[in-house]
């Protein structure tokens, strides 16, 4: 299942649980009584919550995208530069406006099932580099001036991917897009 759907499911479950608990307590407020064993229940609640947090951290931190294929050799390096309001994508580094213009608008194709290293930067403001397949966001990284962000990714599906700018970068932000072919 795609991550977004999983997250939405977990969120919906927690939403229902929280609303149910509050609603039940709200209904109970019509009665008179006391909450029994307050401190013991609070302690139990704390240890369950604490354990859950440690578990989630232990499982999820190693899955951070910084470590994706970190020990492998990328099959291909792709250089991405962003500039208001377009992307330039090339197999060679893009450092200047001239480099940018040379590869601007060029369509690039990368191989399927291989490790691709995207070297993403910007020539003006912060932009975002994101990969969409059929309207579903697969991965992203920021494009920051003066820095190169490296994202390693392996495409398991061929076809055309949409690249959208995902960091607000000015008036034409919504229209800033490009395409990438995977074969």
């Amino acid at each position: 299942m795609i991550i977004q759907k999983e997250v939405f499911l977990v969120f919906s479950m927690m939403f229902i649980i929280i609303v149910t608990v509050f609603f039940l307590v709200f209904i109970s407020s019509k009665k008179i009584g006391e909450f029994q064993n307050l401190n013991r229940k609070r302690a139990i609640f704390f240890f369950i919550a604490f354990g859950t947090v440690l578990l989630v951290l232990g499982v999820s931190l190693p899955k951070s995208p910084y470590f994706l294929y970190a020990n492998d050799q990328p099959a291909q390096k792709v250089f991405v530069a962003a500039k208001q309001f377009s992307f330039s994508i090339s197999k060679y580094p893009i450092a200047t406006d001239d480099d940018f213009n040379m590869s601007a608008g060029a369509e690039i194709t990368v191989p399927i099932d291989e490790i691709i290293e995207f070297n993403v930067s910007s020539l003006d403001v912060n932009h975002g580099f994101s990969l969409y397949k059929d309207g579903v966001l697969q991965a992203q990284v920021q494009a920051m001036p003066g820095y190169v962000n490296r994202l390693r990714w392996r495409f398991s599906e061929s076809g055309t991917y949409d690249i959208l700018c995902l960091e607000y970068c000015g008036v034409a932000h919504a229209a800033m897009a490009a395409k990438l072919k995977v074969e």
Binding site: V7, I18, I32, G128, Y168, C169
Partner: protein, 476 residues
């Protein structure tokens, strides 16, 4: 109760409600543009977005501060000039802000991520005016927060105000949760406003040396989010401090006491909040991985003290309390519920592996609108309702309570659900129109317009009712 404190609090509340209505109208206009129901164009969309974000963050921050100022003045003499100067600065700052956005067309977003202000600037004077607005607001609020901190420190030492003696069991004056939480939050507020001051100074240096010097974008981004995230986080805690003071009485229970776990929980929170902002930079792979991990660990530790102390206490206070519900207590209770819901949305996004596909999607406005629109705003409206019930000419009619509360809850919930769905469907945030790739955004925007309008109707009714009941006090 001193009449000046009452009147000035009233002035704050009425001002806040009016600005809130305007800012909601901006928000609905943005959603209508995204729904293709109106056509204001991208520039006006981003002008509205910049104004909306900063007005909202500002107005609910000062609402929290006004609550603290008022409750604190029930404990001991609080200097009034801090609040008065802050009020003047807030008005002046808002005017300059709106000039910079609507007249000079500055549109770099409310947290003006470097170096965008030099590009999305509108007229050349745009960024200068905007930065002046930030400087006025920052300075006024920093002063106010320092005045309140000093007021607390006149009565208690630092370790007492942090309630350490309630942890160690050493003798010392009883420190109420209100004092403890206010103190902790005000330290956080001071820290993030100082960051804002540094940020603005760095901008002005770059402006002054036009073209010959530039700042480091990664450093500026860290400063920006240390300021922005922490401010928005702390303003919620300001509302909670007042809740700790007022809520138990509404439920007919004895006042909350500072037990060892309340003390530990808020001391932990003080630290945790300052490091959570790193989660805004997860997708900057150039940031050291250690910071990224600190960001996720702190973001996940933050809910522990909140859930185990505040939420647990509020639930057990209401449980079989046989309490009489008023709009104030309803808003407090369900405000805590939505705060918890928004918190779940937040920590799911704060998992780095999830952030890879949620960052800068509508999941972000989804969770922060949940705990602002339905959490923090509810806390401040609860304080205002309590205030009006206490000092207004009459109590709110029960039918009115039902109508207003339902409109706010239904309108607010539908509005944020449209954002959550957008996030789950990869719809980006901060775009004025949806390209083919993400055109689900259009129907979700329509849905949001409907629900947000319900919320707006509820808020108009609330504001009219509040003003009717209290305006007389202002001139008495």
């Amino acid at each position: 109760m001193k009449t000046f404190d009452k009147k000035f609090t009233l002035l704050w509340l009425i001002t806040i409600l009016i600005v809130f209505l305007v800012a909601i109208a901006f928000g609905i206009t943005m959603r209508m543009e995204q729904a293709e129901m109106v056509d204001v164009g991208p520039l006006n969309f981003y002008i509205l977005m910049t104004s909306h974000g900063l007005l909202m963050a500002g107005v609910w921050f000062v609402a929290g501060m006004a609550g603290i100022q008022y409750i604190l003045s029930r404990y001991f003499e609080v200097p009034r000039w801090g609040s008065v100067v802050a009020y003047a600065c807030t008005l002046a700052g808002v005017v300059v802000l709106l000039i910079s956005t609507f007249l000079t067309k500055f549109h770099a977003g409310w947290y003006f991520l470097y170096p965008l202000p030099f590009y999305a600037k509108g007229a050349d004077s745009g960024p200068v005016l905007f930065l002046i607005a930030i400087a006025i607001l920052g300075a006024g609020w920093l002063l106010w927060s320092l005045v309140l901190l000093v007021t607390i420190l006149r009565k208690y030492t630092v370790t007492q105000a942090l309630a350490w003696h309630h942890i160690t069991g050493r003798p010392g004056p009883a420190v109420s949760p209100f004092i403890l939480i206010s103190f902790v939050s005000l330290i956080g507020v001071t820290a993030c406003l100082l960051a804002a001051v540094v940020l603005v100074i760095l901008y002005f240096i770059e402006l002054a040396r036009s073209g010959t010097m530039s700042n480091d974008p990664l450093l500026m981004k860290n400063l920006t989010f240390f300021f922005g995230h922490t401010l928005v986080n702390e303003m919620l805690y300001l509302g909670l401090a007042v809740l700790y003071e007022l809520f138990p009485k509404m439920a007919g229970k004895p006042a909350y006491k500072t037990s060892w776990y309340v003390a530990i929980s808020w001391n932990a929170t003080l630290l945790i909040v300052l490091f959570a902002y790193f989660h805004h930079l997860y997708m900057d792979f150039a940031q050291p991985v250690a910071f990224q991990f600190i960001g996720q660990v702190m973001s996940w530790f933050a809910p522990l003290p909140a859930a185990c102390v505040t939420i647990f206490s509020v639930l057990t206070t209401v449980y079989r309390s046989n309490m009489k519900w008023s709009l104030a207590s309803l808003l407090y209770f369900f405000g805590v519920m939505f705060w918890a819901v928004g918190g779940v949305g937040a920590i799911l996004d704060a998992v780095i592996a999830n952030n890879l596909v949620l960052h800068n999607t509508q999941w972000v406005p989804a969770h922060f609108h949940t705990y602002n629109l339905l959490g923090n705003v509810f806390f401040s409206l609860a304080f205002a309702s309590w205030f009006a019930d206490e000092y207004g000419s009459e109590k709110m009619a029960p039918s009115m309570v039902k109508v207003i509360f339902s409109l706010l809850v239904i309108g607010g919930t539908g509005f944020v659900i449209a954002f959550y769905l957008g996030g789950a469907l990869s719809v980006p945030r901060r775009v004025d129109m949806y390209s083919e790739t993400v055109d689900e955004g259009i129907s979700l925007a329509k849905m949001a317009v409907v629900f947000a309008s319900l919320y707006l109707v509820g808020m108009i009714m609330y504001t009219v009712d509040f003003t009717k009941r209290c305006a007389g006090q202002l001139f008495s």
